[in-house]
Symmetry: C2
């Protein structure tokens, strides 16, 4: 008689954003006349840039012609894309990353969930708290997190690094030594980040303690301050301790296009075993490449036209971020983020819990946000708003919040 | 100090098709003047059908417009696609599969590798031998296969079901009781299949013994004989014991487009736990949907124009299959398959091993095929040729083989 992976039974509730979708759907059914504005899930709203659209049309035409048709993609991704990434995201910033250290994928969500597979089940993971739920959930599914305590909403074998107002949202080295450290910087959900000097300390810590850093740089395009690193490989020694995950979802609006990549430097080893080789094996066995059309779209992101158009798109969303932050301040809220990231992280008023504030905002202002506690226990009492709406909706939402 | 997943170290050699690619690349470098014909990896060569191209252009345009832009896709896939699948692949054949039992993915390779995750590590798997390498390799990676014996090229905890000339390539119920049974029908690599009555026996066996069948129906579009099931759900009782994986790679040439789906019926349970719910949770946590453009392409496969165009495409490849099989027969080879599947499985001549014949064919005829032993120990002494080349190349390849 077959048995199931019992670790799945340990997962409390459903995936955060599915829960929110269900709550909003129930509210909409009960109140069909209400005009809901969604600043909850981090989904973009602006259309793809013209340079990307043009590249995709061209690639579609190629797929319709026997001479230019493309079947299975190369395991790591097409060279044209890996070269563009190596040149623009690394070489131009003085980081030594070779094209064959870049693994093109269908998005950073898959990569951030799958990367734990190449590590031992005994490894202890450390996460910032609050954090993107996928890091912990994927480790729960593979049995790496121990026992869940429903009262504290924590796992016995996970090392939590609280990031709160009190420490300026900067994670501190944990008392217990972790084996795998997940860092998402600029951070989802808090919208805050750390300086390059602070990141260098984490790289040094990882090299000193033999930990590997899983560095999620999905929001890199939103960095506006000079002393913030755009890649962990800007730090000395990162090639021996860090894997970097990148996404095209937020810098180019590819949430519905699906493209990302993972960098595994060849120096990153456990004894004699290269993690690069392991990830290559995983990629070759469990994945069959991102679509040709999508990889051509990714290439267009790095063209001169693509760069200019996407710079504008990022600026558009960051204008929203300013509107949200200023509006919240006017309304008497304490809010963080929005300077190097498209997220605003606010303290809930009147000691409301995060979910109480979610319901309050949904019912009174018909605005959807994300409860901070959904990202971890230290997110309780906080709430996330995203800058990915349209400018008009963002303005309208903030006006409603101000009137509450 | 972090540790790695030691199971990866147990994997012998590299992924089959990577090894072939390297061998061919070395030969090409040494012999730049040779014109190589590839009938090895199961990659298609015909361009996408006009109906699919049209749907993709339309979807690209939608992505370039704020009013019609699509961000994150729904977890299970878009309804328009799931409805088309439920109607055309199931209802029309009298199978009861609801749209919400269909999970759209980026291809059957990912699904067939990932599906084992929701099962216990104690489960014993049974596979046909020879078999698509991903089933076993993905189970090796998660530590479900025991110890590898390099001499017999088998894993201690895998139950092998030999499919050879002697039993007409029909797997027999194994002596030991398996928990998970992988069946790929019509079969890759042998190109053979079993009747619906024989499949019903497997469904009954699984229900009787409490096993789950992972049914890979990637080659279903090539079925030409009437008594062969197009879906395992044509068999009575399959809803309580079977998961079905389907691909758009071979019926619609989507190897470079990436689209597939998995069916998990709601009745499929382990005690009280629904596997449907578990797979939904996995999908929601580790995957972020197939691209909107690709899902629209998938929908076009089911349009009247798409169906007509793809029927022609399948006929084109099956004409190749006939050419290969007839040519091999003329040349004195014993060959199987090619009637309900796009693969021809031949017995190597003169007691050559599969890899010896691979080298022989590459060097003497400049034709690339796939060594049978790469698919499992019972594949030794066999060789796979695919019908996915162009008609002209297929003819030329067979002429070269005849002249050997």
């Amino acid at each position: 008689m077959f048995k199931i992976n019992e670790n799945y039974q340990k997962l409390p509730g459903s995936y955060l954003f599915s829960t929110i979708a269900k709550k909003v759907s129930a509210f909409t059914q009960a109140n069909p006349d209400k005009d809901i504005i969604r600043l909850g899930i981090g989904d973009v709203t602006q259309p793809l840039a013209p340079a990307v659209i043009e590249a995709m049309h061209k690639a579609v035409d190629e797929m319709g012609n026997a001479e230019t048709f493309h079947g299975y993609a190369p395991d790591l991704g097409y060279e044209f894309l890996r070269n563009a990434i190596a040149e623009n995201d690394y070489k131009s910033r003085g980081c030594e990353i070779a094209p064959d250290e870049i693994f093109v994928s269908d998005g950073a969500k898959s990569d951030s969930a799958n990367i734990q597979e190449i590590f031992s089940q005994d490894n202890r993971i450390a996460v910032c708290d609050p954090v993107y739920p996928v890091y912990v959930d994927s480790n729960v599914m593979s049995g790496r997190t121990g026992v869940y305590d429903a009262k504290t909403e924590t796992w016995s074998d996970v090392i939590y690094m609280p990031c709160t107002m009190e420490n300026g949202f900067v994670p501190e080295f944990p008392k217990e030594t972790p084996d795998m450290i997940y860092l998402c910087l600029p951070n989802n959900p808090t919208g805050t980040t750390i300086t390059k000097a602070q990141l260098q300390e984490w790289v040094d810590y990882a090299n000193r303690s033999g930990a590997v850093i899983i560095y999620d740089g999905a929001y890199e395009a939103y960095i506006s301050e000079k002393d913030v690193a755009h890649s962990i490989y800007e730090c000395e020694g990162a090639r021996t301790c860090a894997i970097e995950l990148k996404s095209f979802s937020k810098n180019a609006g590819f949430t519905g296009v699906r493209l990302g990549y993972t960098v595994v430097p060849k120096e990153l080893k456990c004894g004699d075993v290269s993690l690069h080789g392991m990830w290559a094996r995983r990629h070759g066995t469990k994945f069959n490449g991102a679509p040709y059309i999508v990889q051509r779209a990714g290439e267009a992101v790095y063209s001169p036209e693509g760069k200019a158009q996407l710079k504008e798109q990022v600026a558009y969303y960051m204008k929203n971020a300013s509107v949200i932050k200023a509006g919240l301040k006017d309304a008497g809220y304490t809010a963080f983020g929005g300077v190097n990231a498209p997220y605003i992280w606010l303290k809930t008023p009147d000691k409301m819990t995060s979910w109480e504030f979610f319901d309050y905002l949904l019912e009174k202002a018909n605005v959807v946000g994300t409860p901070g506690s959904g990202f971890g226990p230290s997110g309780e009492g906080y709430f996330r708003l995203t800058a990915f709406g349209s400018y008009e909706n963002t303005l309208a939402a903030i006006e409603r919040v101000k009137k509450l």
